[in-house]
């Protein structure tokens, strides 16, 4: 397996495998002994409450942070990613929650940032064509690619960031809250896009707070709680199971609220003749 790192990914191959990943920020353990697998052609959803360590995990996989301990295997080979460009070269593309776009550059420049065509004499025409092709594949609604990113809406910026992640033909895509800033139609577009990315045989690791979106696209749902693995679920797991895994208790704010509402409904039905 270790000899084919540059070749095409075979279906169902284990692309990304984390074992015992821990990350400490000073006295705080953001992640403790995390295990995680992503196969080719699979969408893994990473869910958890605020502060569960989801974004930290994504940043480790993107090469932004380095793990304190533990190993990362990419396509059967143990790898280290000292900086973001190392992750990009391996074939791990990331769409960050804050998108990491340069507002003073236009859409084309942002998509090609760091990997411009023809470094000594930028090939603007070829880059613009490729940018339009990528954006049209995503059915993006970007009015013009020669406008600075500062003039785009949140959803448009999200699309630009996703288009950028697809530029280098990655093997794995990490999406940190890809639908948080999007409207109804664009959320559907992004979910379609995730389906299309999976069909192309890529592994997708997606963070989301939106259980509906997670259920709609994920093949497996991995729950983190307080920086630890807290169960793996099938997408048809009940909402209650997921919520109790996320919050760590059967009796939690969500279930209490549901019960209150149920009680209130029952009461109002009783009062009605």
């Amino acid at each position: 397996m270790s000899d084919i790192s540059d070749g095409p990914v075979s279906a169902g191959e284990l692309v990304l495998s984390l074992r015992g990943i821990s990350k400490n920020f000073g006295a705080v353990s953001a992640l403790t002994e995390i295990d995680l697998d992503v196969h080719a052609g699979e969408v893994v959803a990473l869910v958890g409450d605020n502060g569960a360590g989801k974004s930290t995990l994504v940043k480790i996989l993107a090469g932004v942070h380095q793990p304190t301990s533990g190993t990362i295997d990419f396509r059967g080979k143990q790898v280290t990613m000292p900086d973001p460009s190392a992750a990009l070269t391996l074939g791990i593309a990331t769409v960050f929650q804050d998108l990491a776009l340069c507002e003073n550059l236009d859409v084309v420049a942002n998509i090609f940032l760091g990997k411009e065509l023809n470094p000594l004499r930028l090939d603007e025409v070829a880059m613009e064509i490729r940018a339009w092709t990528l954006l049209n594949e995503l059915s993006a609604r970007i009015p013009t690619v020669r406008e600075a990113v500062a003039s785009l809406s949140g959803g448009q910026r999200q699309t630009v960031a996703i288009a950028r992640s697809l530029l280098l033909d990655p093997k794995v895509i990490l999406l940190d809250e890809p639908t948080a800033a999007l409207g109804v139609a664009q959320t559907a577009e992004v979910l379609n896009l995730i389906d299309r990315v999976r069909e192309r045989g890529l592994g997708v690791l997606m963070i989301s707070h939106n259980m509906e979106d997670v259920r709609a696209v994920a093949d497996r749902i991995v729950v983190l709680r307080l920086g630890r693995n807290n169960g793996v679920f099938e997408p048809d797991a009940s909402n209650q199971e997921l919520v109790s895994a996320i919050t760590g208790a059967a009796n939690n704010a969500v279930s209490r609220r549901a019960e209150r509402r149920k009680a209130a409904q029952a009461q109002s039905q009783e009062q009605r003749p």
Binding site: V64, D83, S85, E103, K115, R121, V125, P143, S151
Partner: protein, 419 residues
């Protein structure tokens, strides 16, 4: 359906013109109205500095007609070139959102090095200049090291450098205090006398137009071939004609006196090269990205530390080159070289020319335009026989206005959704 725009119904809609919400300007009229739209939203470019230059020149000409005489303007160009080269380096560091306060000291040190090595030690002049440039680059690399590895703000490290390098300059000049460069040597002739032959200056003035026409036509045909919208050929020809006529008129006027100084030619050549590097290469794109959003640039895989290193090294090397040129201009390397207002003039020139202090916005041409503004003020006040006290006050006021315009334009850009 008849109310729909024509673009929408035509089958040959360009790839980038398929969105009906965007207004697209076509032709010469379209280019003009797009320009006014840009200005109104705060994307001013070099407009404020050109307006300012017109005002300054009108005032000084009204007060003393000698100001616009061709011989005075030729002198102006000689004076521009030295500090202008330093300002070009400042543009580099401002692009990445940093500052170098020690360019004046570095230029003085470089001129002292050339004086000592060439005149006192008898080195070949070219070798002495190369040594000065190398030492300049080394100082820049040191700033980058302090910035990248120790997180020392460039404001502080270069402030320390200002004092330390000034000390070095005084040390190597020793007790004599100043070294005269021999009159008649190539270096001094270059700084004081050498001008281009008329035919060459006319030919060079036509080059920008020709290059613009060729690259413009090539871009248009390439874009049409791949179904992208292309700017109109008519607008391109109008711009090329206007530029060429303007440049030829300026050259013709200056040729009535001595002509275009070679030193100014070197300066403009550096500006053009720098402009190409900043706008048309991957390095320049990375510089702009680092100045706009450092973390985003890092996550895109740009080696941010090397970009900072290149910016600081280029700034210090340009400063050293500017020092060598000013030694040639003054035919001496003295303790006063690079002190006083050199530092501030260089920084002011870059900012007045339109390079933002906030990083990520700027152009090499801002060094050229800015230094012409500053030298015009200096030259005009000298002609009026006014003391340097007034010169400082007026230059200070112009700098303040330039920064105010920059801040206001920035605010307007934010509210109009431009970076």
């Amino acid at each position: 359906m008849s109310a729909e725009p024509k673009q929408d119904t035509s089958s040959s809609t360009a790839l980038d013109r398929s969105d009906v919400r965007v207004k697209h300007q076509a032709g010469v009229g379209g280019a003009i109205s797009a320009f006014f739209d840009r200005v109104r939203s705060g994307d001013l470019g070099s407009l404020p500095v050109i307006v300012g230059l017109v005002i300054i020149w009108s005032v000084f000409t009204a007060l003393n007609p000698v100001f616009v005489s061709s011989s005075n303007l030729v002198n102006l160009l000689f004076d521009c070139s030295t500090v202008g080269v330093i300002a070009l380096g400042i543009v580099c560091v401002l692009m990445v959102g940093e500052i170098d306060l020690s360019v004046g000291s570095i230029s003085g040190f470089a001129s002292a090095m050339v004086g000592t090595l060439w005149v006192n030690q008898g080195w070949p002049v070219a070798l002495a200049i190369l040594a000065a440039l190398a030492v300049g680059g080394f100082i820049g690399a040191l700033y980058a090291l302090l910035f990248n590895r120790l997180g020392m703000p460039s404001f502080v490290s270069t402030l320390a450098g200002l004092l330390a390098v000034l000390g070095l300059q005084l040390y190597i000049l020793g007790s004599t205090g100043s070294i005269n460069l021999p009159y008649g040597s190539h270096l001094v002739n270059f700084g004081q006398l050498l001008v281009m032959p008329d035919w060459l200056s006319y030919a060079l003035a036509a080059v920008p137009g020709i290059v613009m026409l060729i690259t413009g036509l090539r871009t248009v045909s390439r874009r049409r071939a791949v179904n992208l919208s292309a700017p109109s050929v008519g607008g391109l020809i109008v711009r090329v004609a206007a530029l060429t006529i303007l440049l030829e008129l300026i050259v013709g006027y200056l040729n009535q006196a001595r002509g275009i100084p070679w030193m100014f030619g070197l300066f403009v050549g550096l500006v053009v090269a720098m402009n190409y590097a900043l706008t048309r290469t991957q390095w320049g794109r990375s510089m702009t990205a680092v100045g706009g959003n450092r973390e985003a640039a890092r996550r895109a895989g740009i080696k941010v530390r090397s970009i900072y290193l290149s910016a600081f090294v280029m700034c210090s090397m340009f400063a050293a080159l500017g020092g060598v040129l000013s030694a040639a201009r003054l035919a001496s390397a003295s303790q006063q070289a690079g002190t006083g207002d050199v530092n501030l003039n260089a920084i002011a020139a870059a900012v007045i020319g339109g390079t933002s202090l906030f990083g990520g916005r700027g152009s090499a041409y801002s060094a050229l335009l800015g230094i012409i503004v500053i030298q015009s003020i200096a030259s005009g006040l000298t002609l009026l026989d006014l003391s340097s006290s007034l010169r400082y006050m007026i230059t200070g006021a112009v700098l303040a206005i330039a920064v105010i315009v920059d801040s206001l334009a920035r605010r307007s850009r934010v509210s109009h959704g431009r970076a």
